[in-house]
């Protein structure tokens, strides 16, 4: 019995390492392809966006979460359901703006950066920028235009990793999504 359980946790652990390693290989390759960190950041955001627009369908199919009525509910669902489902972590939500249109997601540990060190030559690289793209793409598919950006990054020496989410507007027109 215990052997079965161990094998189960080991294969789950392996698949998180597989994801982390694959992401690392991707970032490394992008750093080789593009001269400067800004371009890499943009590219990661673009790729994240493409992933996000597809991920939201998978999420809605598997989570049975109903329509969110306001940005606060959205924030809760993102942190407690989505992050838990896809990355196995539950970030905390803090720093709501007075107007209720901005909040921060605080991650104590970021699974994307296991075993990763940022060299000095890439100090302006936002390693986990894919996450911002994913959030932006996924929320756009549910009619919300948002901006997501990193304000603290454990890789750069900060204590935690913090993403600032800002609600821009509700998207009323159903424009077809073009491939970026």
């Amino acid at each position: 019995m215990s052997r079965q359980a161990n094998r189960g946790t080991e294969s789950k652990k392996m698949s998180s390492e597989l994801f982390t390693l694959t992401y690392g290989a991707l970032v490394t390759q992008l750093c080789k392809d593009y001269e400067n960190d800004e371009d890499v950041n943009k590219q990661l955001d673009k790729m994240g966006y493409n992933i996000g627009v597809r991920l939201i369908e998978d999420f809605l199919a598997r989570s049975n979460v109903g329509k969110c009525h306001d940005f606060r509910e959205t924030a809760d669902v993102i942190a407690k359901v989505a992050f838990k489902m896809y990355l196995g972590i539950t970030p905390s939500i803090t720093n709501w703006s007075p107007a209720g249109d901005e909040f921060s997601l605080i991650m104590e540990n970021n699974p994307l950066v296991d075993f990763v060190e940022l060299p000095d030559s890439h100090s302006s690289l936002i390693y986990s920028n894919l996450l911002c793209g994913v959030l932006r793409g996924a929320l756009e598919m549910v009619q919300m235009a948002v901006e997501a950006k990193f304000v603290q990054d454990a890789l750069k020496g900060d204590g935690v990793t913090e993403i600032r989410m800002r609600f821009i507007r509700r998207i009323e027109d159903n424009l077809p999504v073009g491939e970026e």
Binding site: S2, R3, N6, R7, E10, S11, K12, K13, M14, S15, S16, E17, L18, F19, T20, L21, T22, Y23, G24, A25, L26, T28, Q29, D33, Q43, M47, N50, I51, R54, L55, D58, M85, Y86, L87, G88, P111, L130
Partner: protein, 133 residues
């Protein structure tokens, strides 16, 4: 614990990203496959390093003692077909053939990275290269 859906989507993005950047430059097909292979190579190396470390700590598995010493090529291939494939793709290889002269053919009837794709020939050639070389 990263979810499988996330990994599959990331993988798809990587493949299409490499090919899009190739369209802008003047890189032929072969270079893209090499890029993907190199990424896969790096990932494979990392996985095996991690796996060995994990196995040394967990004593329950029968092959723990033998991991450091693969007796011959066939042992390596068996390891790949059973244990490695199971941890990466959650199933074993369906068919292993060899000509006993250094060539091995691994056959997976339900390759996890491709099950969600329609039968476009372009992807069939390229996606299979990532992450298992």
């Amino acid at each position: 614990m990263a979810d499988e859906a996330l990994f599959l989507l990331l993988h798809n993005e990587m493949v299409s990203g490499v090919y899009k950047s190739a369209e802008q430059g003047e890189v032929e097909n072969g270079r893209c496959i090499t890029k993907l292979e190199n990424m896969g190579f790096r990932v494979g190396q990392g996985l095996i390093e991690r796996k060995n470390t994990v196995l040394l700590l967990v004593d329950l598995f029968r092959f723990t003692k033998d991991t450091a010493r693969f007796k011959d090529e066939l042992d390596i291939m068996k390891f790949i077909c059973k244990d490695f494939w199971t941890t990466v793709f959650k199933k074993q290889i369906d068919n292993l053939r060899t000509n006993h002269q250094g060539i091995y053919v691994l056959q997976d009837n339900k390759f996890r990275l491709l099950t969600q794709m329609s039968a476009g020939k372009q992807y069939l050639e390229h996606a299979s290269k990532v992450n298992f070389r």
